[in-house]
């Protein structure tokens, strides 16, 4: 496949001795949305968290195999640099509670001690909030606390915060599962818009969501990657029996 940005090679992840990701080989395509699906506990979150090495916060998690970002071994680069290239949005919206909306967006710069001119920060804030489809709603309240926003707005703020670092890849772990349907559709729309500039990998429990927004769909079962392909193909003609059962609502 052409335009591969991120690849895992023979990837295993263990928690102590329990194998949570079992020999996963996957190629994520540049400027596409790839959905990762599968029943609870099949290792979706674990796989996603390796891709920006946030799994290292858990000392019992061990990774074997290779992860390549632009062909470079991601496990050999400084994790701090990896995380600036590969942004992440979590299940629960979590803007920094002591910071204003403005400061939340540029927190990646401020906390890393990256100094820019006020006008440059202004531009990053406006640009990121526009990409996250939040600018119109908050442009007059930039200096209010981010925690006063609604759940859906908070999640878009978190997306803006991740985008401000200009990552190549954006990881999202069930970003809409704590949100109402309207907020969810806002976020789906903005993700489709976003793929022009950033590669998106999204874990979702929601079949319809994956069908609506993703270009590629992968399906995990008991830690293994059992299905990967273009979304329309996977949805209409799954190769794997477990995928078929999942798609027809037999479990999940």
């Amino acid at each position: 496949m052409e335009g591969t940005i991120l690849t895992t090679k023979d990837l295993f992840v263990y928690y102590d001795t329990k194998c949570a990701v079992n020999n996963v080989n996957i190629e994520f395509q540049k400027n596409k949305i790839t959905a990762i699906m599968g029943p609870s506990g099949c290792g979706k979150t674990t796989l996603l968290r390796c891709l920006n090495r946030i799994h290292e916060l858990n000392p019992s998690a061990k990774v074997e195999g290779k992860i390549l970002l632009h062909g470079e071994d991601l496990l050999a680069i400084d994790p701090i640099l990896v995380r600036r290239k590969v942004g992440m949005v979590f299940q629960r919206p979590n803007p920094f509670p002591t910071m204003s909306i403005y400061d939340n967006v540029i927190s990646g710069y401020k906390l890393n001690g990256i100094r820019l001119k006020k006008s440059e920060f202004d531009e990053i804030v406006e640009d990121s909030l526009k990409k996250a489809a939040l600018w119109k709603e908050v442009q007059h309240d930039l200096h209010k606390r981010g925690t006063f926003l609604s759940g859906g707005q908070q999640q878009r703020l978190c997306i803006a915060r991740a985008l401000a670092m200009k990552p190549d890849v954006l990881l999202l772990d069930e970003p809409t599962s704590a949100l109402d349907p309207i907020s969810t559709s806002h976020i789906e729309e903005l993700l489709v818009e976003l793929k022009k500039t950033v590669t998106i990998i999204i874990v979702t429990h929601n079949l319809a969501q994956a069908g609506r927004i993703s270009d590629y769909t992968s399906f995990m079962y008991l830690g293994e990657l059992v299905e990967f392909g273009a979304t329309d193909k996977v949805f209409t003609n799954p190769q794997n029996e477990q995928t078929e059962r999942f798609l027809t609502g037999k479990f999940g």
């Binding site: 979590f90 509670p97 927190s107 906390l111």
Partner: protein
Amino acid sequence: MKDFSIKWRIIKNNIFKISIIGISLISIIPLFLILFFIFQKGIASINLNFFIAGTKPTGEIGGGIANALIGTVILVLIAFAIAVPFGVITGIYLSDNKKSKLASWVRWAVELIQGVPSIVLGLIGYAWLVLPLSKLTGGKISFSALAGGLTLSIMMLPSIIKSTEETLKLIPHSLKESALALGVPYYKTMLFVILPAGLSGIITGILLGVARIAGETAPLLFTAFGNYYMNVNILKPIDSMPLLIFNYATSPYEDLHNIAWGASFVLVSFVLLLNIFARLVVKRWKVQF
């Protein structure tokens, strides 16, 4: 029959409620009596001179508490400057390493320090700070404000460590993850994201710690020692409010007794205000997640 048993239950319930309220009221009566008594006895000695005058030679009327007041401020500042950084950093460590061996040892040590009688801490301050310093300097430095402040800082540590740990434990884990996911190094994440989010709880712990040590006498008896003269040199003995109260109240002179009452009033008011302030901080600065 059934009716009766329900009524009887309601009556029992009410008796229980009333006795709980009654017993609670009885147990706070002594507190109010003490406050009232100190107020009544102390307020008479209080005037401007009381705050700005030092000790008068025995027999002369009209001394004040200036040197004790300054002494207490200096002692608290020394204790504060040492206990806050050590306490907060230890608290961060404990909140972040729930299961490590070292953390459980530290937690155990904190409990232990909290249980050590303050007079014993005073003795330790004497044996580990006052005596060695005196030996080293050939007797030039012995009892000192520094030794007193250090001893008080140990008493202050548990409340700071515990409040920091408890506050930070309540902060959602995802907050730390999302800072790290932006490529922010660990120490900056803790200092600039996690700590500010828990600031109100930590400040409360510090204030309560100050309130606790401000009135301590025992740890100062063999360390700061007391001083009838104004002193701001931290290498010299220094007076403090509780030491002054102790010395004056045990003296045979009526006017010194009155000064001791006045000083008690000031000390109690200070501690009370700190407690009220600590409550306000909790309410006002509470961070919403």
